[in-house]
Each structure stands twice: as structure tokens, then as C-alpha cells.
């Protein structure tokens, strides 16, 4: 009696199971990949602009991918390194993370925690379909072809992240104030002579109206940026003259060894002329500026007490939103060969702005949603995503094919103009610290170029010797680390089927190590014979 009933029950159960299976495989949405998920993206760009830019990109991405929710987390710069390290070590890092090669003490982070993206870079970005970038490999859709990322990669040829923006130092102008000073239509300076004339007009305006205005908003940081630009431009000729190796560019070890060899010092006339130019520029800032911070300068500018502020384009959105007047970005006028101060040393227009792209975003290797994180990164760096980000953040996109408004074109760096490296605001940590420590002797009311140079030079041999020692030590560390990497590539080719890519990396490592050692040993040669020796 019971047996047929049991069989019937089993048959019903079996049929029900089969029906359920059939429904799952034919009618239902995918079991796992269809579930809604949330991915998180962390960055430190808490200025005005980027968070709004990301909101716009995320909104559109979520429309295209309703299953994926994206959250942005902003972590302030001062605690960012600790945040990244702690969360990645603890396995709680977000799926996408902003990172930069220059963050101190973090060299191991990319290889340890981030997903290499090289293999994706040679194929087009799927979100670029229907755009001019449709058939272009992802890497080449970035304005610099990710050249900077490749050059700084901890592994030769490996790309770990994608960049979002590019920017430069620019002169931001209070357009209304300019019109009041120069009369309408407002006339912006295009040559350094114009800038000199305008500075005189600003002083007259202050006397006439009683409203004390300075041509440049002042702070120690803003003065540093100005000095670096003026020095590197004026000293291009000296750089090229000292360029024994013919690289058309100078590296710190070259400027250091050349100082020890007596090939340059701060008494050289072109260096003094460049310093005179720094003094002239900084005299256009309010007295005591060297005690003030970057925020003080921004406040001075948005209050309308300074006509210009020289700052990075990363401040552009903040300036435009905070200032109750129209703000326009322009290039800092450059002196020409006719300039009475630096003219004899000017070779021609010098390069103004960075060519590399930045704001690097990395995929967390341990993300549980790596595919979705990569997909969002594709969208973020697509023509559509780049356009949305730029339009809503005011930060110039790194992506080719994005339509840049005319007023933002000036943010772009250019390959036009000469460039040859060293700025000589020090040539290493020790000499640079000494340079800035004495700045008051150059820019203060009682200061002068001679006072500054006389204070700087007596200890420069000692300082630059210390700089060169650091440089040699750094090269030695790089060279030591390469040994095990070279051995690893060779061993992997021995233990597994040899790969051409691995062989190429081994060869490149060995070659780079040898070339690094040439620099290191030439430095050692000079140091031993010409370096500072304790009396």
C-alpha cells in the first residue's frame, strides 16, 4: 500500500525538481551576475569640482548599468596614505582607488594590491563604441598615451592605473578688477613688458582709489611655483650649455656633479638674472607673503585684493565658484630676448605646462567586484565619461576626443617652447631646503640678489655634496633591487615555457641597471675627487 504512494510522491518531487531546474536555466535572470552590487571608489580630491564630476559620471553609469551602484568616498589628503595602507592591508580597500607614484613610502602598493591593466590597454575601451576612439587601443585614448605612468611604473612596461585629468600652473585673473584698472575692454598682459606696465597701473589704482590691490596674491607656495617657472625658463640656455651628454635635458645628478666640478654656481650671471626676475615677480605680492599659506592667497584673491593668483588648474573650479567675480585663466607672460633683466639669457619661449596626465585610478586586486570596477573605470575614461567628468568638475579631461571648451584650452600643457630640466631652486633635498630657507634675503624689502647669493654659496658645496650622496644611494638601491628581478625573469623562463615578454623584461632590466650604474659611478668619481670634505 505504502510503496506505490511513496513512488508517486518521488515522481511528483522529481518532476517538480526538473521543472524548477528548467525554469532556472531558461526563464530566470542569471543567478549571481544579475544581483545588484555596490562598488566603491575612493579619492582625495575634495576640492570643489571632482566630487561633482564623479556624481555626474556615476549617475550616467548607473543608468547604463542598473545592476551596479557606485559610491564615491572622499578621504582628505593628510590622512590618505594611512587610509590606503590600512584598508588595503586589512582587506577593506575600496574597489577603485586613487593613487600616485609620488606618495612617499608607498612604492610597494601598486604591485602588491593593484590589478595590472596592461593586457586591457592594447584593446579599445568598450564604452568608446561610436566615437572617434572606437578602434583606438585604450592606452592611446589618453592624451599622453599613459607615458608618465609607463615611465614611473614599478615594473617595466606594466601599466597599473588609468588617468583622469591633466593640468598646469596658470595665472588666474579677476576680470572685473582688470577692467577697472585698465579700462574697458579689459586688456590682459601677453608679454612680460605688459605685465610690468600693468603692475604700475595696479599701484596707481591703489593710490587713486584707496583700495590696496596687489598684482599677485601672495603666499610662500605661490611664490615657490612662480620662482620655479621663472628659473627653469631663464636657465634653459645654461642647462643646454651644461648638457655634456646631449640629452637636451638635465637630471639632478648632472646638476649636482657639475656644481662640484665648478661648471655652475649661483654667481653665474644668468642665475643672478633669473633670481632678479624672481624678486621682481614676488615684489608684486603683499609684504610678508612668505609667512602666508596657499589658502591665504586664495582668500586674498577672492576678496578682490589681488588682481591675479598663480596657481594650479586644480584650483580653477574652487576659484571660479568662490570668487564673486568672473575668473579667467591665462598663461604667465614670459620675458623675451629684449628683456632688460634676463633678455641676454633667454633662448626663446619656454615650455609652459605639464604634458603628462594625472589623477591615477587603480583597480583593487582583491576587490570582490573586479570586473565591475574595471567596467566603471572603462566608462570613467571613455569619451562620454571623460566629457561628463570635465563638464561637471571643471578639470581638464585626460581623454582624447573630449570636447574642451575654449576657456579651458589654456589649461593644457604644450610641446611648444623650450625645456631642459633643472630649475636650480636647489638641486636636491639639502640644497633646495637651503634655497627656500634664505628666500627672505631675496624677496624681502631689504633683500637683494647679492645678499641671497652671498648667504647661499658658502655652504652650497657641502649641501650639494650631501644631495649627491643621496642620489648615489638611491641609484644603488634601484640597482640592487634589479638583481633579484633579473634573476626571477630568468628562473621563470627556465622553470616554465620561455616567454618572449619575460625575456624582453629581463633584458630591459639588465640594460637599465647598467645605465643607472654609469650615472652612479660617474657621480662617485666626481664625489671622490671634488666633493666637500670635512676640514
Amino acid at each position: 500500500m505504502k510503496r506505490p504512494k511513496f513512488r508517486l510522491m518521488m515522481a511528483v518531487f522529481g518532476l517538480g525538481y526538473l521543472a524548477a531546474l528548467g525554469w532556472v536555466f531558461t526563464r530566470s535572470t542569471p543567478l549571481i551576475s544579475g544581483r545588484p552590487i555596490t562598488i566603491r571608489f575612493t579619492h582625495w580630491q575634495i576640492e570643489k569640482g571632482p566630487p561633482e564630476g564623479f556624481d555626474a559620471v556615476i549617475k550616467r553609469y548607473e543608468e547604463l548599468n542598473p545592476r551596479v551602484k557606485v559610491e564615491q568616498l572622499t578621504v582628505p589628503g593628510p590622512v590618505y596614505r594611512q587610509w590606503v595602507r590600512t584598508n588595503l592591508t586589512g582587506g577593506t580597500g575600496s574597489d577603485l582607488i586613487e593613487f600616485a607614484y609620488w606618495l612617499q613610502g608607498m612604492n610597494d602598493v601598486p604591485v602588491r594590491y593593484f590589478e595590472p591593466l596592461t593586457r586591457y590597454m592594447e584593446k579599445p575601451n568598450p564604452y568608446d563604441r561610436g566615437t572617434p576612439m572606437e578602434k583606438v587601443p585604450w592606452r592611446l585614448t589618453f592624451d599622453d598615451g599613459l607615458y608618465t605612468m609607463l615611465a614611473q611604473s614599478p615594473e617595466i612596461g606594466q601599466i597599473y592605473g588609468a588617468t583622469l585629468t591633466q593640468g598646469s600652473m596658470r595665472l588666474f585673473c579677476n576680470v572685473n578688477l582688470l577692467a577697472k584698472i585698465t579700462g574697458r575692454p579689459a586688456v590682459a598682459p601677453t608679454t612680460f613688458e605688459d605685465f610690468r606696465r600693468l603692475s604700475t597701473q595696479v599701484a596707481e589704482y591703489s593710490r587713486r582709489t584707496g583700495h590696496v590691490v596687489h598684482p599677485l596674491a601672495g603666499s610662500f607656495s605661490n611664490a615657490q611655483w612662480l620662482a620655479e617657472f621663472v628659473m627653469v625658463g631663464t636657465l634653459t640656455g645654461m642647462n643646454l650649455e651644461l648638457d655634456r651628454e646631449g640629452y637636451l635635458q638635465r637630471w639632478p645628478w648632472q646638476s649636482q656633479t657639475d656644481y662640484l666640478l665648478g661648471r655652475w654656481n649661483y654667481h653665474r650671471p644668468e642665475v643672478k638674472a633669473a633670481l632678479a626676475m624672481v624678486r621682481e615677480f614676488t615684489q608684486q605680492m603683499r609684504p610678508g607673503f612668505s609667512q602666508l599659506s596657499r589658502d591665504d592667497a586664495i582668500q586674498e584673491f577672492v576678496r578682490g585684493d589681488a588682481l591675479f593668483i598663480y596657481s594650479g588648474t586644480y584650483d580653477a573650479t574652487s576659484l571660479k565658484q568662490l570668487a564673486p567675480f568672473p575668473v579667467e585663466a591665462m598663461r604667465l607672460p614670459q620675458p623675451t630676448k629684449a628683456d632688460p633683466v634676463v633678455g641676454p639669457y633667454v633662448l626663446g619661449p619656454y615650455q609652459d605646462g605639464s604634458l603628462g596626465t594625472s589623477f591615477e585610478v587603480y583597480v583593487n586586486k582583491d576587490s570582490p567586484h573586479k570586473a565591475e570596477a574595471l567596467d566603471f573605470l572603462y566608462f570613467l575614461t571613455s569619451v562620454e565619461g571623460g566629457q561628463l567628468f570635465m563638464d561637471h568638475s571643471g578639470w581638464l579631461s585626460s581623454i582624447r576626443g573630449v570636447k574642451v571648451p575654449k576657456e579651458m584650452e589654456v589649461y593644457r600643457g604644450t610641446t611648444e617652447g623650450l625645456s631642459a630640466g633643472s630649475q636650480y631652486v636647489g638641486v636636491g633635498a639639502n640644497s633646495t631646503m637651503k634655497f627656500w630657507q634664505h628666500l627672505d634675503l631675496l624677496v624681502g624689502a631689504q633683500g637683494s640678489v647679492d645678499k641671497f647669493v652671498d648667504a647661499l654659496e658658502p655652504t652650497m658645496l657641502k649641501d650639494i655634496t650631501a644631495d649627491l650622496r643621496v642620489e648615489i644611494r638611491t641609484n644603488l638601491q634601484v640597482s640592487r633591487a634589479a638583481d633579484s628581478e633579473i634573476m626571477a625573469m630568468s628562473a621563470l623562463n627556465r622553470l616554465r615555457a620561455p616567454e618572449a615578454e619575460r625575456t624582453a623584461r629581463q633584458q630591459a632590466m639588465a640594460s637599465n641597471q647598467t645605465l643607472t650604474e654609469i650615472n652612479e659611478y660617474e657621480s662617485l668619481w666626481v664625489l671622490a675627487r671634488h666633493g666637500y670634505k670635512q676640514p
Binding site: Y247, G356, M487
Partner: protein, 261 residues
């Protein structure tokens, strides 16, 4: 502690591969932890991997490196590639890893390796390092000319193309440094370029170097070729503007001297 994750049960060979992969990504401490946790059967490959990993594992001390040297010396007694690589690394220990380098001892190690295995990649890489030691670091010979002559004498012994290229670069740079005639400098740099294989920044720098040094020597056509190559291959570089100016200047000289249309 193993941060990067080491799969619990890898087969013997895979443990070594995993360790080398970590070393290749500069994660020597992780590699060492993995090797210690998953003891490989004793083999030359396993001992070699451990020696290399220890060279790079923090904290690095002279005492630790001395132990590595003992391990490598044992391995160098064989005749396989591990032996050659071990002997090479002993030279590297004395050249770059010990806190007080012993350049004479490093030179001796490289010389012995090259005599024993003249065609080995590691022996020939050692000869490139030997050239560097002779040019810049050993006390003798005294004059730059004699140093260069000794280093140049190593050139015929280096037959691996990319190592021959690197030795040419070493020789070219040293002659520039010691203010030797430019003809010799350029001969070495051009020989390096002909062998080829440099990538990215190094490739561009060599092109610029040959272009600029040729220009200074008035070798206009040669300068033009190399500057042009740099310009064609580099869309993004701060030196492009300068290169354009140089090309214009060179074109004028070529026109004036009727060298080319």
C-alpha cells in the same frame, strides 16, 4: 606574514614558480615566507631561489648576505645555469650589495666566471659590469685612456647582442665623461643603436644623444637622421620643440653645404 596570499597546496614546482613571480614583483619577503611555509624538496633550483630571495628580504644585513654568499658559492660549483648565475651574483654581492663594496673582488669574480663559461649570458653580463669597474671604480690604471683601453678590450668577448649594445653604451658614455675625442664616442653610440632593442625613454635618449653630439661635430646628415627618428617616434616629450629647432638649423646647414636637396 603572507599578505599576497599563497595558495595552500601548490605542487613542488609551482611553489618555486610562485616564489619567483613574487620576487619579480619586488615582494621578496612574501616569497621568502612562502618558501619557508611550503618547504620545497632540496634541489639546486630551490636553494638558488632561497639565496636570491634572501638577498632582497628585509632586513638586509652584511651577516645575512654572507650566508647568501656561502649558499651561492656551493651552487656555483656545479656546471648548469644555476651555477653560472650564482657565480655572477657573488660578483654582484661584492660590487653592490655588501655595505662596504669590494670592487677588486667583484672584478676577480667576473673575470673567473668569464674564463670558465665564456659564452654564458651571466658571464657576459659580468663582463659588462667588469668594464664599469675598470672605467670608474678600480684604482688602476691611473689614466682615463688606459681605463678605456682595458674596458674596450672586453668588447670582443661579449657576443650576446643586447649585452654588446650595453657595453657600447658604457664605453661611449665613459669616453664622453673623460672628454675623449667625439669620433670614438659616436662610434660606440651608433654601434649600440644598430644592435637596437632599447625601449621607451632609453631609446629616445640614445637617439637624442647621437643627434645632438653629431650636430655639435657638424655631422649634419647623421644628426638629421637621429633627430628625425626621435621626432617621428615621440609624440609626447618636452624636448620636441628643441628638436624641431635643431632640425631647422641642420636643414639650413645641409642646404648651405649642398649635402642634400
Amino acid at each position: 606574514m603572507l599578505v599576497c596570499g599563497w595558495p595552500a597546496a601548490l605542487s613542488a614546482g609551482e611553489d618555486l614558480v610562485k616564489a619567483w613571480e613574487l620576487v619579480g614583483r619586488h615582494l621578496a619577503n612574501d616569497a621568502l615566507a612562502g618558501l619557508q611555509k611550503n618547504r620545497e624538496p632540496d634541489s639546486r633550483e630551490a636553494r638558488f631561489a632561497e639565496a636570491v630571495v634572501r638577498m632582497d628580504s628585509q632586513p638586509v644585513t652584511d651577516a645575512g648576505l654572507k650566508q647568501v654568499e656561502v649558499q651561492l658559492t656551493g651552487l656555483a660549483r656545479g656546471s648548469d645555469e644555476v651555477a653560472q648565475a650564482s657565480a655572477y651574483l657573488i660578483g654582484r654581492l661584492y660590487q653592490a650589495h655588501y655595505f662596504t663594496p669590494d670592487y677588486a673582488r667583484a672584478a676577480l669574480e667576473y673575470e673567473q666566471l668569464a674564463v670558465k663559461y665564456p659564452t654564458s649570458y651571466w658571464a657576459q653580463l659580468g663582463l659588462v659590469k667588469l668594464a664599469l669597474l675598470k672605467l670608474y671604480l678600480l684604482p688602476e690604471p691611473a689614466t682615463p685612456e688606459a681605463r678605456i683601453a682595458e674596458a674596450e678590450a672586453l668588447l670582443p668577448r661579449v657576443t650576446v647582442p643586447e649585452l654588446q649594445r650595453d657595453l657600447h653604451l658604457v664605453l661611449g658614455r665613459s669616453q664622453l665623461f673623460f672628454a675623449q675625442p667625439m669620433a670614438g664616442v659616436l662610434a660606440h653610440l651608433i654601434a649600440a643603436d644598430r644592435i637596437g632593442g632599447l625601449t621607451l625613454l632609453k631609446r629616445g635618449e640614445l637617439q637624442l644623444q647621437i643627434g645632438e653630439l653629431s650636430r655639435r661635430e657638424g655631422r649634419w646628415e647623421q644628426a638629421r637622421v637621429y633627430f628625425q627618428r626621435f621626432q617621428d617616434e615621440n609624440e609626447i616629450d618636452g624636448r620636441l620643440s628643441n628638436v624641431k629647432l635643431k632640425l631647422a638649423e641642420i636643414a639650413e646647414h645641409i642646404r648651405a653645404e649642398g649635402l642634400r636637396p
